[in-house]
Symmetry: C2
Subunit: 552 residues, 2 copies
């Protein structure tokens, strides 16, 4: 007897496309290079050639709970990245998708945590990083360089340098080992707005289930993804598996377009020439597609898009819909592979008109299958689904980091009572949809109830004389914390504390916010401190204004 | 720290519908009773009440590799069966879906293998079975009777009899234990055309994955299932989980209609009144819907259907398409939960006209995600994808019986070389689709090559004087086996061996079959022996004619 205990491993997705969509296309067309088109059959062949190279270079397999050889990749959204997404995990090694947007010293920090032995690097854009990396990360045994412009590296480094295309082209097809589905497949780092990036591991099992489940949600209205679609992922492949699309899209049988580096004019051209019907990305991407000087030349009707990474602003949705696009929201974290929710429509929304439909589409959404999602108060009790009471999103799913590497405290803090606490503050609407209102660390915790700093900032910013605003929670003897607003006036305008309070009192009388949300203090300032990524630095504001509500 | 290791258990499907589709409807409307409508929220409440009753009656949970208390159910497609589909596995007990179409002594045989402690029985139709079961199956501790007509049982039996609705209505909501996903969820028996029915077990893991994966295929053209659909499963719930629909349809967010006993006029009425847009069943069901005297009164346009259990005949597809229906094929076995393939369309078929599209729709199909499928020869090598060479379908998937209970030999024979051998003979078309041509046991194995008895029978039956035909493999000294045809002429007609051979030679010259497929002998007989289910009894023919090719 030889029963086969089928494991949920990433090579099974390759099996699927080989049997069900052998001739479906994958296109790679970077702005600085030529168009390449592979069928799934050819892609499978390439993946196995790359896998063969990995084995030749000594990559070793891991097992449940223990990563294999880490393989670091620095690249844009390329076909070769797509090949590595399959080849690395399928031999049991661990794909380390290096976040190229981090500062060089942060990249080096994450590398010294991950300890990769192989480094795949796009030298068209990242060759300046090569020397600093090789000078500071001594785990690397081989560098495999990749170029769309037939470049070769200038820099001399102390390990062997190999050309990706030359080396893989001469390989035969590797066959894949039988892996336990709990073998690590990828290693990712959170972008770490506070403190150093934290690493974690996603398993084969998690990623296969994430793919099946997210497709199960994206096929619903209004996206209705099906095998007739052409999809171009506009989420970087170094950012949480490009939201899982390199693994999930093949299950949907769609044509896939990898656009290389995100060059807006080129991406618009690809949408037209490759007849792209589906994409996904952060709001900035959508904004860029709509506002690029060439944009009016392109017909975006029928292009469907999922927006994540930040809330979908209503104005941006309006602009996209005016161009004939269909746009909804998604939500997730690095720790959650990433997708947790998608704001697809229910049957009762089928007849909604434009504005009420948009109100649903900009929500954070509904959990996809295999995600159990709660919005909980500080005692981990569910908040009432009233659209008002703020709680923290806590989830269970097969695709969540088991732990933050080397950070027991952060792990323990996230995994409380068997639920992973996301750090996102949200309300649950009466019909069950979730809507994020803030980050938990920015929520003002007042007397056991939570106040959304974002919501107050939104309302204060509608005052005609306000240039910028930040609301922070400031320690308070009686209530624990109370909101304090820091406001900068527009150039040449005058603002007093009473102006802001009176402005907010109108929203109180309209029922938009409760009276107890009114800030205890409004401080007019000349400017607000910013972080390195250009966001208001609330941490330094909390430090600076932490005593303003203290009894004298 | 309290990491939650999310298990793929059936209660997670309930979690999903509660969070994503709390108000979607489940309708139960039997021909002999009134219409009931529950929302998913109410359904979840009912499931937990039923679970509470099960616990009160002493049902115990199993664990990975060991079933819990077996709970036997005899019923048509009812809402209460739907409740038991969730309640029984979710407390860790094992749902034993009794095949009510078996002969009473076979039912009793399967029960004495399964050893259920609880028996749920629809007494409107199955009360005649109650005494024989209770007289011969001594594991049963409680009988819970169910009726759509407020009936109470006449028969006195030696265990406590409880009314399903009375007993469940007074229960509170059970909470479900954390189960290992490999805990048995259901126990099924093959219908066993040869020999006694063989039992096997499907796990929570298998059924959850089966549900996600099959929905992933049904959303593709031409079915394109989405949450706007209303689905009425017309596969009996005692037959391989009604093809998984009670578990998979909720993941698609559709409205579900359970029609009770299949009464054709009533089912047509339900299609109209409940606005059913999707169903699935065996060809006989589709035939009945199309040919019922009331059928012309009903508009079937837009009704989508998946046909399985037997090949979809072209003529039946024609008739359905003429009524505006969309029909494709599916394929699977009791051992495989059941779904392995669905004949959905690929992008290249989008522009096909009626007849060429139908040719795709009547194929056996493409494997659904997480099914690895091969068509192999006697040495387990893949046959060429030429649409001609016959092999056996062998599969791997997370949802296949690990073993036939108490039958090591049958288990070993099915699980050869790590592949489950289905016993179905098929060809692989050049584009990868699979098409079943015969049962392996009926295939004629001639000189290492295989001949489809079904195909020869189809061709012989087109002779105008042929009433019935059976082709069998007969032992042959040189070739191992050679085909022999047994033919009965139409009443009052004459037939000679040469007539049949000459008739077939035309197909040979047209290239429809190779010359070496011509039967070595055609025997004209008065009648063909039939099995108890009305099929030609090829086993007895093989016994009787086993020597006709022996050298004298």
């Amino acid at each position: 007897m030889s029963y086969y205990d089928y494991q949920l491993t990433i090579d099974k997705i390759l099996n699927y496309i080989m049997s069900s969509y052998p001739n479906r296309e994958i296109v790679y067309w970077p702005y600085n290079g030529r168009r390449t088109m592979l069928t799934n059959t050819q892609f499978n062949h390439r993946v196995r050639q790359v896998a063969s190279l990995l084995l030749e270079l000594g990559a070793k397999r891991g097992e449940a709970g223990r990563p294999g050889t880490r393989v670091a990749v620095l690249d844009w959204n390329s076909l070769r990245y797509g090949e590595l997404y399959y080849a690395v995990p399928s031999i049991g090694a661990t794909l380390f998708t290096v976040n190229v947007r981090l500062a060089p010293q942060e990249i080096i920090y994450t590398m010294n945590v991950a300890k990769p032995e192989l480094l795949f690097i796009n030298i068209d854009d990242f060759s300046p990083l090569l020397k600093p990396i090789m000078g500071n990360v001594n785990s690397i045994k081989y560098v495999i360089y990749m170029s769309d412009e037939n470049k070769v590296p200038d820099d001399h480094v102390d390990v062997k340098m190999l050309n990706y295309y030359d080396e893989t082209a001469k390989q035969g097809e590797a066959s894949f080992p039988e892996l336990d589905e709990r073998t690590p497949a990828t290693m990712l780092f959170t972008s770490g707005t506070t403190g150093l990036p934290k690493g974690g591991i996603h398993t084969h099992r998690g990623l296969v289930l994430h793919s099946l489940a997210t497709i199960g949600a994206v096929v619903q209205p209004p996206i209705e993804l099906k095998n007739l679609d052409t999809a171009m992922p506009l989420v970087p492949m170094y950012h949480v598996h490009a939201w899982g699309m390199p693994y999930s899209l093949p299950l949907a049988g769609v044509k896939i377009v990898y656009p290389g580096k995100f060059e807006w004019g080129h991406m618009l051209r690809l949408i037209a020439e490759e007849k792209v019907t589906f994409t996904a990305g952060v709001p900035t991407i959508l904004y860029a597609l709509l506002s690029h000087p060439d944009s009016p030349k392109y017909d975006l009707r029928g292009v469907k898009m999922i927006i994540g990474g930040a809330a979908l602003p209503k104005g941006l949705l309006d602009a996209a819909v005016a161009r004939g696009m269909t746009v909804i929201s998604g939500y997730g974290l690095t720790e959650t592979a990433p997708i947790l929710t998608i704001s697809h429509l229910r049957p009762e929304h089928a007849s909604l008109d434009g504005e009420s439909r948009k109100e649903v589409e900009i929500r954070t959404g509904l959990p996809v299958p295999l995600v159990d999602l709660r919005v909980v108060d500080q005692y981990d009790n569910d908040v009432p689904p009233d659209g008002k009471t703020i709680g923290e999103i806590a989830v269970r799913s097969p695709w969540i980091f088991k732990e933050y590497m080397g950070d027991e405290e952060k792990t323990r803090n996230a995994w409380r009572n068997g639920w992973f606490h996301t750090g996102d503050a949200a309300v649950r609407l009466p019909d069950g949809y979730v809507k994020i209102v803030d980050r938990m660390k920015d929520v003002v915790k007042s007397g056991g109830e939570w106040i959304s700093s974002l919501r107050l900032e939104d309302l204060i910013s509608t005052h005609p004389s306000v240039a910028a605003v930040a609301v922070i929670g400031v320690p308070h003897d009686k209530w624990g914390e109370r909101p304090v607003a820091l406001v900068t006036p527009k150039k040449g305008q005058q603002l007093r504390e009473e102006d802001i309070i009176r402005h907010l009192e109108r929203y109180v009388s309209e029922g938009a916010i409760p009276k107890w949300w009114l800030p205890d203090k409004v401080i007019i300032v000349d400017e607000l401190p910013l972080t390195s990524t250009g966001k208001v630095d609330k941490k330094s504001l909390r430090d600076r204004y932490g005593n303003v509500l203290k009894q004298k």
